[in-house]
């Protein structure tokens, strides 16, 4: 079982593009479960205190895999995210 944490960052309430990234993450979490990945997806406020303390300024939508921001300001394709999850 490989544990992966996906953090999706966007404004509150979430904008369309952030929701798209969240949906991609949720789909991957479901699909990769069969292969033994345990993926936790959380949506965080891009302007939240914790977010800025941890990562500084981000451009929405952003996606972090295991505490490393891998994508920001764009909606990655499902393939791209999957590739990064396997590398993590």
């Amino acid at each position: 079982m490989k544990k992966i944490k996906l953090e999706v960052f966007g404004p509150e309430p979430a904008c369309i593009r952030c929701t798209a990234v969240k949906n991609i993450s949720d789909r991957l979490a479901k699909r990769l479960k069969k292969e033994g990945f345990e993926i936790e997806v959380v949506k965080l406020n891009i302007m939240g205190k914790e977010t800025i303390e941890k990562y500084g300024i981000l451009v929405s939508p952003a996606l972090a895999i295991n505490d490393v921001v891998k994508f920001m300001g764009r909606i990655p394709s499902e393939d791209e995210v999957e590739r990064e999850i396997r590398k993590a």
């Binding site: 891009i46 800025i52 300024i57 891998k70 393939d79």
Partner: protein
Amino acid sequence: MNFKKIRAIILLIFIITVFYLLIDSRIQAYSLAPTLTQADLSVYSWYEIPIYYIWDYASHGWICLLFAFVVAGLFYEFIPKDFIARRMGSKKFSGYLIGLVMAPFFTVCSCTMVPIFGSIIYAGGGIGPAITFLLMAPAANILSVIVTGEMIGWDIAVIRIIVSAITAIVAGVFISKTSWGKSIEKRFMIKNSKSKGSVQLAKTDLDERLWSSMKFSGFLAKKIIPYFIAGLIAVSYVEAYLPQELVSTYMTGITGILLASVIGGPLYTPTLVEIALGRTLLALGMSKAALLSWLMGQPYDIPNMVAVSRIVKWKVVINYALIALAFSILFGILYGILIGVL
């Protein structure tokens, strides 16, 4: 050849074609702006006017709009966002510069703009650069610059960028020097001590980046075009029915500048519609000086101010709006004196 290479080549061919079409329109010197005048429109009945007007816009302007959306998508995809985001939190003067130079590329989508404004303050970048970013953003976003340049004229497009930059810096510096501006900075300051996350963006292949940029262009178009068309319907009636004497009496001289800057702001026009309306008013006799004041009104429209007031106090919002208003009047007058027609 695999799928990825083919996709990259197809996308590149598409982008080059769009660029070629715009350059070709320059070489052949045909107008990308609509050509119908009030006299032409007045022969149609009320329900035909919007149809002919929008057809006029679409048949002439499609290259310009396509180019603007494609370029906006490319810029947004290819600017090094991580590099800029890191620099944006700087409190020094470079924070202002980054806010200024980058605002046009970041802000084609308002759901990105206000969070970045908030983040700059929260990350300790100071309220000054944040305000500069906020004011520069709508005034000089890549989409409206291209459309203003092609539809109205590149002289006014360039001047609009320059005066917006001056206004944005002055408002930013001014508010950062006030005691209430400083108190906001203090309240939001975050100690960066327990930082444990990092930013290392994934490497993405060219075809994926191009595709993603096209998708962003499409997203913008889907968001903006419906409002643009609705706006054009309204503008078509202005063009057809607003008496020219009214425009040339009230929208010229100092009165014109004052009126344009006061109406231009609070009147909420969706992106690009202010350009179409400005173009129509110009055709009906508004002075170029008043047009500049009109176009400078964007940063202080009401919905924008409400969104920002959720992050900082109304006092800040009112102050930057007043500075922007004062400068739109001032630069309108200066521009009028410069070109010799007030």
